[in-house]
Symmetry: C2
Subunit: 213 residues, 2 copies
DNA sequence: AAATAAATTAATCATTTGATTAAGCAAGTT
DNA sequence: AACTTGCTTAATCAAATGATTAATTTATTT
């Protein structure tokens, strides 16, 4: 029986397999992915993926964890930054997200599908359930803002939902949208670039702040 | 070799299998669904599902076609109605959609995942690519509106995207959101009910029409 | 150079899975 | 009662699939 390599002498092969797995898993999802697909995509023998990662599931967990970190932690970093204003948070978040999504358009559908398929395992087991909702700095700032406003403000969860919806959903529906309108990928990405500026404006007018920076 | 039944004597069994298939496929997706899952869910023998539907794929196509009709055609009906104003279209569409999504929260992720997995087959083969983008009545109305406005209006595709994003995305991200905030399904649905009124208001202020009916 | 360890492959295994077959049953028809 | 037809099941098949094994090649150490 072979041992797992203790020291990473040549990261190349292991990394190539991981990259191949990332592409295949992200494109097709866990259930539709065959270990042989990953072998073929990586250019290595099937047995090698088990040699390095023990099982399909373990490899998947690694890929998923990486995606979740991109998908969640980066947001939390921005949303939780005490140095930036609400306004800035939003602009940074949206711009950052759209850049990331233009590069990795398959991530949201992949992550949300797999969470839907296996919520318990993916949310609790992969241990990013530390962040407490109440502690998020953005929520505090929102409450402060709400205290100064005369009019009753809506549940801040709506605003968070709106930011994420307006930013992420277009990428999720892109295959359908592009097919039905005949839009090219370039044209789509151009639209998404436009949204970097549009979404913050929209969110502002939603909140009732007409200050269009 | 058995023949397919020409006349539907007892719709009960076939319909029960279809309903079971709808539940399992919609929840787990095509690739993760085993024909045995459908058999078990329906309470019938495995062979029966092939007796009635010939194959897993044919059964899936039937389920998917039904979902696509809910997901697309109903929208097109509303969006293409010459009798309603832009304002009314939007309100009807959103309210109708949210009702449907509260009842069937898994449909959007299911449909979009499967389209992503197999765009060619699902979009072109299932023949709902008849509707021409330019012919949509909403687009005409938007152009008319744009002609009367002084300020330059944004690409109407953004507005369509926004309506769909704000309406559908919360349901797609619901498992993640609910888990992270500890929100109950009832509380979530209540939020979605709120959005029936909020989204049209938001869209209006985005367009620059402060007429909050 | 010999010996040891790590990387890689071809072949194979055991299970799962979509599908079929053949037989039994229920209901109506002749 | 015998016959036909549609419905249902248990048993089975063949291919796909995740994983392992044993052998081979390559690299590293002594």
């Amino acid at each position: 029986m072979k041992k797992q390599p203790e020291i990473e002498k040549n990261p190349s092969t292991e990394e190539k397999i991981k990259e191949a797995a990332r592409r295949v898993f992200t494109k097709k999802g866990y259930a539709a992915t065959r270990t042989r697909d990953i072998a073929e995509e990586s250019g290595f023998n099937l047995a090698l993926i088990n040699y390095y990662f023990r099982s399909k599931e373990k490899l998947f967990d690694i890929i998923m964890l990486e995606h979740l970190q991109i998908f969640i932690h980066s947001v939390m970093g921005i949303v939780n930054d005490p140095e930036t204003t609400l306004q800035e948070k939003m602009e940074i978040l949206i711009s950052h997200y759209i850049d990331m999504l233009i590069k990795n358009p398959d991530i949201p559908l992949f992550v949300l599908s797999e969470i839907n398929a296996n919520p318990v395992k993916l949310i609790s087991k992969l241990g990013f359930n530390k962040v407490q909702h109440g502690n998020i700095y953005l929520v505090k700032q929102w409450k402060e803002l709400a205290a100064t406003q005369k009019q009753l403000l809506i549940n801040p969860i709506h605003i968070i939902m709106n930011v994420l919806s307006l930013t992420i959903f277009p990428f999720i529906s892109s295959p359908l949208l592009r097919n039905r309108t005949g839009m090219s990928l370039e044209a789509f990405n151009k639209l998404m670039e436009e949204r970097k500026k549009l979404i913050p404006v929209w969110i502002n007018v939603m909140i009732g702040n007409s200050n269009t920076n």
